[in-house]
Symmetry: C2
Subunit: 333 residues, 2 copies
């Protein structure tokens, strides 16, 4: 006798410019198996989709399942996409991704209903349903990495917005006339508080003659990139330039959180992403201080929790699985 839909596992995929992460997720949110490989975006959409399919098939096998055991597939993908039609409209960091019907390509190949959504939206949905946000109904997610992405859960549902372009918290303008952002505008939160901003400001400080251990740490890293690990090590060694730059980042993140809270008044703000995770929970305390100070309504302000994400790299994968199940339920209603 076959299993009912609510007992069947779902596949969640986190498709990014550098890696593909596919996982099989049980109805209770348990990850049964995952497979990770490089995206190799230079091959174009057909090659990338083949690599996603391969990862999914391997993950299903690793979970001891057959393709027919899978109820649905959800996948996160970077920027602008249409979750309703399942089409990726354009992806700046992957060549050839213009109007790619990703959901249909994945669904047809695997013979399951397939859905896509913005990867940071799904990361927030994952944290809401299975991570730091469990038990809450109104959640803002902020993920700080090379850029800053966001997600918004209202009344227990992912809020994607009228044009499906919501929750771009990284492009809240916090410093009018501030530094240029990758998006072409100025003073966005992303332009002053992302890893890109941190690197720019530290390099500017060094160029201006400030002492720092960063050049030495960069020489040791064969990629020459300023990783979160290098920042942590610099802080540990008492690097005042790095401490100063990170202090400003915390200040701006606090302001961005306050603006978000003053606008939608959520129960909880979840902070995640490489930069936040590298420093651990103590990184959040100065952010909280600035944020709470800048809440306009002080009533119950401390009841609005500001917490670290808890799912790490699995947030988007888990959110994709939750999303696929939700979309399918809505269709079948």
């Amino acid at each position: 006798m076959g299993k009912s839909d609510s007992e069947k596992p779902v596949v969640g995929v986190d498709l990014g410019g550098t890696k593909v992460l596919a996982g099989v997720v049980a109805p209770n949110g348990q990850i049964l198996a995952t497979v990770k490989r490089a995206t190799k975006p230079e091959g174009g959409p057909a090659v990338v989709v083949e690599r996603v399919l391969k990862s999914v098939r391997e993950a299903v096998k690793a979970a001891g399942l057959e393709p027919d055991d899978i109820l649905a597939l959800g996948s996160g993908a970077p920027g602008p996409l249409d979750p309703d039609s399942g089409v990726v409209l354009h992806t700046p960091n992957m060549p050839g991704w213009d109007n790619v019907p990703l959901a249909k390509m994945l669904g047809d190949a695997l013979n399951v209903p397939a859905f896509i959504a913005n990867d940071v939206d799904l990361g927030t949905l994952g944290e809401f349903a299975l991570g730091a946000g469990q038990g809450h109904q109104h959640v803002v997610g902020i993920f700080v990495g090379t850029g800053i992405g966001g997600g918004l859960i209202l009344n227990g549902e992912l809020w994607q917005g009228w044009r499906r372009a919501a929750a771009e918290i990284g492009h809240t303008i916090v410093l009018a006339d501030g530094p240029y952002c990758g998006c072409g505008n100025r003073g966005c939160l992303e332009a002053v508080a992302s890893r890109t901003a941190i690197e720019r400001d530290i390099q500017a400080g060094i160029k201006a003659g400030r002492e720092s251990v960063i050049p030495e740490l960069l020489k040791a890293d064969d990629k020459g990139r300023l990783t979160s690990g290098a920042l942590v090590e610099a802080l540990r060694r008492g690097d005042t330039l790095v401490a100063e730059v990170l202090g400003r980042v915390q200040f701006y993140l606090g302001l961005g959180i306050a603006s978000a809270v003053n606008f939608v008044d959520p129960e909880m703000v979840i902070l995640g992403g490489g930069v936040v995770e590298a420093f651990g929970d103590e990184f959040l305390e100065p952010i909280r201080r600035v944020a709470y100070q800048n809440f306009i309504n002080k009533r119950g302000a401390r009841d609005v929790k500001i917490v670290p994400a808890s799912l790490g790299d699995n947030a988007a994968l888990l959110g994709a699985a939750v999303y696929a199940r939700q979309r399918l339920e809505r269709i079948r209603k």
Copy 2:
């Protein structure tokens, strides 16, 4: 035979620090009669409530109705308040308003179900249901006066937030480390784009020796206040200081709108309030230019309408009537 609930009129009240405006509103949104009087807040809550009741009774009479003909009453009040319990928690510009059960006081005296909500929330609800926002489902309202207030409609419903503290768009931080705001924080939209900010900046310019017709216009106004009318007249006379200050205000309003749109992705932004209304629709064009430029997602950006409010001083009154009807329907479901 009596009328059914859906045929009965509702009373809407806009209670502010300077004036009380009460109106009888037909189910189709038509205003049957209004009565306006000074609030006289110095008398304390009991006196103010008496003046509201008097205005309501006069408005009902002016509409040719009896108190029994009224289905419900809705009232806007300046914040912070708890719309669920109907209690005004504290009102900075009205002495003695701490934990005043305004909804119960009004409802008991008039023998109708009574509801209260934030006045700017209700102004947005009024514009959404009966004004510039008709036919739209996701609307952000921004009202620029002495301060800057906001309202948020998602899926056709007023979004009040988890703590009922949502939509404080005036306290989006757009200029980190900027001028102090009345709220005690720095660089809020209200601190750089309200009438208070305009007055501060013009006075600073004059003090620094800039030429302006404003001192002459202030002498002519017996109250000595910098009214929107004086600003319009100064612009007409080619005052470059006033033009410069207002240009910055338009820039900041554009940034504030972009931040709001990038976050919740609405269909429409409605701009109202004394400052916006005084200058007419052409005041909006530079605001739109900055806003659209700062939308992170350009897809369908121009489909997001940025429009002037259309209900003027009646927005909150009408929104209060709409709100009372909605709350009553929800209770009776």
